[in-house]
């Protein structure tokens, strides 16, 4: 495939788009893991959500 004299610009545009998309996906997945871990820690220490506590009473 011949990208012509401006191949560097074309490849750089797609490379940056790929990098940003990968970073966004990694950020969302890492954030999910972090929140799940914190929730598990709190639940292990006996913390409950208000709605749960109210429904039990």
């Amino acid at each position: 495939m011949d990208l012509g004299p401006h191949a560097t610009f074309i490849i750089a545009a797609y490379a940056m788009a790929a990098l940003v998309v990968v970073c966004l996906i990694a950020w969302v997945l890492a954030d999910h893991d972090a929140q799940r871990r914190q929730l598990s820690d709190l639940e292990a220490r006996g913390a409950t959500r208000r709605s749960k506590g109210l429904s039990k009473s």
């Binding site: 495939m1 011949d2 990208l3 012509g4 004299p5 401006h6 191949a7 610009f9 074309i10 750089a12 545009a13 797609y14 940056m16 788009a17 940003v20 998309v21 970073c23 966004l24 996906i25 950020w27 969302v28 997945l29 954030d31 999910h32 929140q35 799940r36 914190q38 929730l39 709190l42 639940e43 220490r45 006996g46 913390a47 409950t48 959500r49 208000r50």
Partner: protein, 245 residues
């Protein structure tokens, strides 16, 4: 499930858990089709040559830059008028995604501009108004991080978002209202698209792919934000319980 049921975060989380794998698969498929069409079937432009391929990432990101702010504006109305429990969650989750898409629109636009215009950047109306949009995204993200209470931050961010929505028609019509280096609208315009179907098809396919990517990441980020608020509420309750003991 009625639409109103989605106001319940627990039901919303259950829906997201079911929808995310399908959305992720649809996004991957759309990107595979879009990249194939962009790289292997789309012809070179008679003036721009292969550089036209930059359009297939630049234009979808430029549309999303404005589209995400529109989503945030609608969510802001939900926060201020109806106090919908998921409205400011939706607005907060969308802001970093919108900032990323706007950055990509600016970056790929600069890379497209250098070989076509002879410069990476000019302070013309279209480019400057999109840069302002990018700075507004960063401002909204900073505001969310500054105010600790999510409901107070949500109201402040909602007002700022609605004020910032004034910039959207300025971006859209800047190429008509002022003399700019940027070309006028060639897809979303009254007379229909001015682009040949051989180039329009890959462009719309890539736009669909980026759109699906936004929906997927937005739902995932909303799920994370709901969990973050649960962590915060449980942490506060535990701290109060410890103080009372």
């Amino acid at each position: 499930m009625a639409l109103i049921d989605l106001a319940n975060p627990t039901r919303f989380l259950a829906l997201v858990a079911r929808a995310l794998p399908w959305l992720a698969a649809a996004t991957a498929l759309a990107f595979a089709c879009g990249l194939y069409l962009s790289w292997f079937t789309a012809p070179d432009d008679y003036q721009q040559g292969a550089t036209v391929k930059i359009m297939f990432v630049h234009v979808p990101n430029a549309w999303l830059a404005m589209g995400v702010w529109t989503v945030m504006s609608i969510a802001s109305i939900g926060t201020l008028v109806w106090r919908h429990p998921l409205a400011d969650v939706a607005a907060k989750a969308a802001a970093p995604l919108g900032a990323a898409f706007t950055f990509l629109a600016l970056f790929t636009g600069a890379l497209w501009g250098r070989p076509m215009w002879g410069t990476y950047w000019v302070w013309d109306a279209r480019l400057t108004s999109v840069l302002v949009l990018f700075l507004m995204y960063l401002g909204i993200i900073a505001l969310w991080r500054t105010v600790d209470d999510p409901s107070r931050a949500g109201r402040a961010a909602a007002i700022l978002t609605l004020v910032g929505a004034v910039n959207l028609p300025i971006i859209k019509f800047s190429v008509d209202w002022w003399n700019t280096l940027h070309q006028p609208a060639s897809v979303i315009r009254l007379g229909g698209p001015a682009i040949h179907p051989a180039i329009l098809t890959p462009l719309l396919t890539m736009a669909l792919a980026f759109g699906l990517l936004f929906v997927t990441l937005h739902l995932a980020a909303m799920r994370n934000e709901i969990l973050r608020r649960r962590v915060r509420a449980m942490g506060l309750m535990q701290a109060h319980a410890a103080q009372g003991a």
